[in-house]
Amino acid sequence: MMERREILLSAENVSKNFAFPRSLTQRLTGKPAVAVHALNGVSFDLHRGETLGIVGESGCGKSTLARCLVRLHDCDEGRIMFEGRDVAALKGTERRQFNARVQMIFQDPYSSLNPRMRVRQILAEALGVHKMKPKAQIPARIAELLDLVRLPADAADKYPHEFSGGQRQRIGIARALAVEPEVLVADELVSALDVSVQAQVVNLLLQLQEQLHLTVVFVAHDLRLVRHISHRVAVMYLGKIVELGQTEALFTAPRHPYTKVLLDAAPELDPARRSKTVAVKGELPSPVNLPTGCLFNTRCPHAFNRCFTDRPVLTARDPDHLAACHLTDFGLPFQNELTA
């Protein structure tokens, strides 16, 4: 799959907290402000040319991580490295270059496209901000971009509201591609779209990636989509990566109990495979009061003593397949139980 493994972007032990809004009574009674622990020490490498999928349930920190990667958030702890340099230290021209080379595409194309601008202006603005092209070349580049995302040339003179959801998502992609980025960070790119239209956008993304040699971070909660599109997948739970591996290995032989229940809970497209047992009981704990020990211990069917005292770290039994679970230390018998 990947011949070379050039590390383009990496997260090193990234943590991010948000202040939890206090109610009036809490402020009057002098209750201290509490923190939402959105990211709790996330580390991974992004290889040039790959698609890295990031999955996990609502609130596990996927969007926060995506925003840290493109510097829309600063990290509280840890750092994001791009080509071996800490992106927080980039200034002036270097910072602008980083902003152009690493682009984010948002979930809701409607709210991220200015409704009062024609598509032509939206794309010209993206080109202008990054001073990509001499003015005279801009119309040709706009035509090229629309062609790239399979929109008709006359789309340039329309406003965002004149398009369907799938088409608006294409405009968002065209805008991100305007500055010839190397990395696309796509946050729930197709989640709001109908299934038939989702497939169109996924097909387009796959084609563009080959054509333009893009590196993609694909954030989504839809496991089927992530499996389809990603070379490698990171599974997040409560602001931590709990498992990271090659897509097929992770989906067919998961090494973390949370990955296993997530896969069991996702409805399969096969009416012959039904089960009456619930994949996992209980709900996500609050990101304000994190459990001590393993973050998954409140729901894990395999939890034992150590899980309530020590937090497992992401470790590799095989360099391509990392998991953060104490069971991994015991090796394969548990593996069989997990994949049974």
Partner: protein
Amino acid sequence: MTPALEVSHLTTQFTSGSGKVTAVDDVSFAVMPGQVLGLVGESGSGKSVTLRSLLRLLPRTAQIEGRVIWQGQDLIGMSEKQLRSVRGGDISMIFQEPMTALNPVLPVWLQIDENLRTHTSLSASERVARARELMDLVGISDAPRRLLQYPHQFSGGMRQRVMIAIALASNPKLLLADEPTTALDVTIQDQILKLILSLRDKLAMSVVLVTHDLGVVATTCDHMAVMYAGRIVETGAVSSVFAQPSHAYTRGLLGSVPRAGTQRSQLLSIEGTPPSLSAIPKGCSFHPRCEFATDICRRSTPAMLPQSATHAAACFHSDRVIAAGSPVGAQ
């Protein structure tokens, strides 16, 4: 067996300043006792309006025609007063976003109690016991304390459980569920769907489950009906429709969902987008997007034709669609 619910030629139109639009167009289906029927289709295809038409839960601008036979009576012709005793009684409904359906200023027990008072003859103390029992049934522990709480004190998944508890208060024989898990995480979706299935078994209810997720249909429903632009285009036993989709839209929809073993390949997508109600194409409304379309599809509307005893489709070229094979057939 006689169906629990029989819907025939249901048509719902909305009148607005710019004229009339048909949101549900000549829809017929039946639900057998104890059966889970999945109503599947993309956004705007008419799933919610169909469900709401059954109980006439629509604004005044809606005009509903057809027959909805429930225990020998036609719900469409029934007086508003009679219908009120059916609603939330024998037939209960749950919605996608429980927050809009729950009353935010009433504690949960009052909302369950209201249903119990309207639809049962239980005494006050029996109602308290029944409310606790219902919380148990939907998997909310610590019922005495939780019953005193307000909807905002529950998580999304718990709120959906509360909705189901309220819906079950009257011992309904039919549960209409409109995307009850769409806003929830997969692990919670799994819990709620399995709860609905176990309640179906325990209480012998029938269920109509609206969803746009074919995975949910595959894992939860017995029968399915596929909607496109206000019409049902294919209906049948879930296993039969998945094994042999006979309408080009159903086949395309199944092919649009990524599945194992096809990583990073181009998905079988459907060109274009669903039509808007004000511009539904003539003939088969799917023809502008259909790779199988010929002249006849542009001229006439295909009728529902049986493929087998439990499977029917409205497509002029179902033989060619069947020959093209199911995208989810041999896995």
